[in-house]
């Protein structure tokens, strides 16, 4: 009552000045600092299925039938540049440069670094064209062009797109950006508030800017564009905001919209017509994007596209996956929820769908399908097959015929108990009823977790080893559904999630996956989730980063660690390797922890609430004690 008297009777300035002291003395306002909730217990090994129990293939391995390679049209001979995040249309993230090897990597040293001026999660790949390096920062999406021909790589130009600050309010999982791409003298990238911008690569002057998304509807854009067939391909984010997901093609020259394909709704909006020939019966029928939903629910049903697109120039076909249906509470959307959580093949010129395959019909666990597709020609069933390889959030690495959309094999590469394999006759995921989700009731130890056996962070493929280097997670979760109302521009989730370590207690892995033998050649266990991409090289190295800031090189054949360097912040970016103006090999990566997994640091969030950041905080409470927020480009080379 004394306090009240002061407040009402005297100048508030006095009261305000005096009271925090009182508060501190009485411990009335506990500080976040020092709160270190323990990590949750790992899920027991016996609670997940073995690879042998749930892996399936149409035929046994036939490694003698040929060598696995990327198709030449999609992965042309290496020119030492890095024009798109995935290196090439086959998305191999492989450079043939071989100056750096397992024998000499120990001599790697930093050549230069550059602060991005933004301390949020940095997920972009640096782009290298004509001896210039282009980098896009996390929101507010600054672009920097660095001159690699001069000592210290000085800034040539920078560009500030000035996105609307409110865009940060509709970004589900930190304000990340996955980079830009170069073509025809233009550097093209997206902003969080939903614009696609083409800059003159030489001057940094804006050539065109096209607004694609509307933050008032919950739309944002975080992906890197793919430039293919004269089109710039961009999808929206906002699967946690009840948006209507789409992929849009812009004309590279003018920035005008060429076509837009929605991922829910009637066939004419989904660009599904006479050329559409899905392999499985479950994906056939008229207007399934409407009929597989409760009335009207498709309009706010998600199915966004914020990940990776591969492109086969030989057939002018793009391949990409669609994200989760919304809301997360599956009870509010009975049905298969087409065309979410599946793979599309489309004509790049018209956007018309060729086939679709739904990995997760009626997804119950936030298993977006937006992860990378690697285009490979590999031996299967005694002959060479043209396939795409897709490590999905649901824990299976899918090998799919590029022409037909038929699944040749589906094997778990991380902890799985939410399903019991993929039925290769029907194509349908065999959902485990014990891990289905319920209203107001916690279902424990679901594997993989909502962010998947892996999330967006892309794999690489070395034609020298025939292995796919998959950076991924070993996490599971507890899940409870809650009723949720749709209010435009606000989250539309309806689930309380708490993540936890998978069997073994380590939270991340780098798996060298043999797609022909359908098993790992080797696996590295990491304490923290691996949220960076990988790059593999002609010198038989694989580079990746850890969330506590170690940038590592391992032997591509054995997984043996040959070099590591501690950076100023955790690494969740995409490493690349390029040939400098001096013809030497360089390796570049962004540090700056954040993203969904690192939001506890970049937020910063309070570790006492495990449900924070859609439940990721629950299993990352130690991260704030191991790294701090940052945002820096680092470039390495051998002494020369």
């Amino acid at each position: 009552m004394k306090t009240k008297t002061i407040l009402l009777a005297t100048f508030a300035a006095v009261a305000v000045a005096a009271l925090p002291v009182v508060a501190a003395q009485t411990g009335m306002f506990p500080q976040r600092a020092g709160a270190k909730p323990p990590l949750p217990k790992p899920v027991p090994a016996g609670d997940v299925f073995t690879r042998e129990q749930i892996g399936h293939a149409l035929a046994p391995p036939t490694p003698g039938a040929g060598r696995t390679v990327a198709p030449a049209a999609a992965a042309p001979q290496d020119d030492g540049q890095w024009t798109m995040p995935a290196k090439n249309y086959a998305a191999t993230r492989y450079t043939s440069l071989n100056e750096i090897t397992p024998a000499n990597a120990k001599n790697l040293q930093e050549v230069f670094s550059f602060s991005l001026g933004v301390n949020k999660g940095q997920e972009a790949a640096p782009i290298v064209v004509d001896n210039t390096m282009y980098v896009v920062s996390a929101f507010p999406n600054h672009v920097y062009a660095l001159d690699l021909t001069k000592e210290g790589a000085p800034l040539k130009w920078s560009y500030n797109p000035k996105p609307v600050p409110a865009a940060a309010g509709v970004a589900c999982c930190d304000v990340v950006n996955r980079g830009g791409a170069y073509a025809d003298g233009k550097f093209v990238f997206n902003t969080l508030d939903g614009a696609t911008i083409a800059l003159d690569a030489k001057t940094g002057k804006e050539v065109w800017r096209t607004q694609l998304g509307d933050i008032n509807k919950g739309e944002s854009v975080t992906m890197a564009p793919l430039i293919a067939g004269g089109k710039v391909l961009v999808g929206n984010s906002g699967g946690e905001f009840g948006v209507h997901g789409w992929l849009t093609a812009l004309d590279l020259g003018s920035g005008k919209i060429a076509w837009r394909a929605y991922h829910t709704g009637p066939d004419d909006q989904a660009l599904i017509g006479k050329d559409f020939h899905p392999f499985y019966a479950m994906d056939r029928g008229k207007d399934l994007g409407v009929k597989s939903w409760p009335a009207g629910a498709w309009q706010i049903g998600g199915g966004t596209m914020w990940g990776w697109i591969a492109y086969d120039p030989a057939t002018q076909t793009i391949f990409y996956g669609t994200a989760n249906p919304g809301p997360w509470n599956q009870l509010q959307r009975p049905g298969d929820n087409k065309w979410t959580a599946g793979l599309f093949a489309r004509d790049v010129n018209t956007g018309q769908a060729k086939w679709f395959y739904q990995m997760n019909p009626h997804d119950e666990h936030d298993y977006d399908g937006i992860n990378e597709q690697l285009l490979l020609d590999m031996p299967f069933g005694g002959k060479m097959r043209e396939v795409l390889l897709h490590p999905d959030r649901n824990g299976y690495v899918y090998v799919v015929d590029r022409e037909t959309g038929q699944v040749l094999s589906a094997d778990p590469y991380g902890p799985v108990n939410s399903s019991k394999g993929v039925n290769l006759k029907t194509g349908r995921l065999i959902v485990n009823p014990a891990k289905e989700t319920h209203l107001g009731q916690v279902v424990h130890d679901i594997c993989p977790t909502a962010s998947g056996a892996k999330d967006w962070n892309p794999s690489s493929f070395s034609p020298r080893t025939g292995l796919v280097y998959i950076p991924h997670e070993n996490l599971c979760m507890d899940w409870m559904n809650l009723e949720v109302n749709y209010i435009s521009g606000t989250p539309y989730v309806g689930a309380e999630v708490k993540m936890k370590p998978g069997p073994g207690g380590h939270r991340g892995e780098l798996t060298a996956w043999d797609p022909v033998l359908r098993k790992p050649a080797w696996t590295i266990r990491e304490d923290l989730p691996v949220w960076s991409g990988t790059v593999s090289t002609g010198g038989d190295l694989v580079f990746y980063g850890t969330m506590d800031g170690w940038f590592k090189a391992v032997d591509a054949r054995t997984g043996k660690l040959v070099w590591k360097q501690k950076l100023e912040s955790g690494i969740i970016g995409q490493p690349i390797s390029y040939k400098g103006p001096d013809s030497h090999q360089y390796v570049a990566v962004l540090s700056g922890v954040g993203g969904w997994s690192g939001a506890i640091v970049s937020g910063p969030l309070d570790p006492r609430d495990g449900s924070s950041a859609l439940g990721f905080v629950n299993t990352m409470t130690d991260l704030p004690n191991r790294t701090t927020a940052g945002g820096t480009l680092h470039v390495f080379a051998l002494p020369h």
Binding site: M28, A168, P491, G603
Partner: protein
């Protein structure tokens, strides 16, 4: 966070200009004026809004506020106080002020970095109740009642003395 504060300060300066809080200045005299560097109505000479009083020491207000917080999807951004898209609410950092009327303002008007404006969409009474639940999240009583690892499920009423704390350290000169 620094950016947010800086923007807030600019906004506040503009507001003060528009509401005419200039120091008296005669013709030809150099203009003198005071600006509030503390955002969100946290000006040191602003008395708390008396409309907050019924929501202090009010157990029903925080309980109803919790229901509204969930129904209006506040939970989708701030979760159970730990934050995610929006900042944490169970700690003692307040970007725009931690007094009940400052929290009310944040909910009513929204904030530039992504907080939607709920004024006109919810009643004033509802906004005050959500504000009181938000303020309750960092109370030691609420934190001590943390059950099953999910905080803020048993919110304690906001005591009157808590409302004097706006989340900033006030410079010594200001109070002495």
């Amino acid at each position: 966070m620094t950016l947010a504060l800086a923007l807030g300060a600019c906004d506040q300066a503009k507001d003060d200009t528009s509401t005419g809080t200039f120091a008296p200045a005669g013709p030809g005299a150099p203009a003198q004026r005071d600006v509030a560097l503390v955002p969100g109505g946290g000006d040191l000479v602003t008395a708390p809004d008396r409309r907050a009083l019924p929501y202090l020491d009010n157990a029903a207000a925080v309980t109803e506020g919790m229901q509204l917080y969930n129904q209006m999807n506040c939970v989708g951004c701030h979760f159970n106080g730990g934050g995610g898209i929006g900042p944490p609410l169970m700690d003692t950092s307040w970007t725009y002020g931690g007094r009940l009327d400052q929290i009310y303002d944040t909910i009513y008007f929204g904030r530039a970095n992504g907080m939607p404006a709920w004024g006109g969409k919810l009643t004033d009474d509802q906004i005050w109740k959500i504000a009181s639940y938000v303020r309750s999240m960092s109370l030691p009583e609420t934190i001590a009642a943390n059950g099953n690892g999910t905080p803020s499920q048993h919110p304690a009423p906001v005591p009157r003395e808590a409302d004097a704390f706006d989340g900033w350290h006030v410079p010594k000169e200001a109070g002495s």
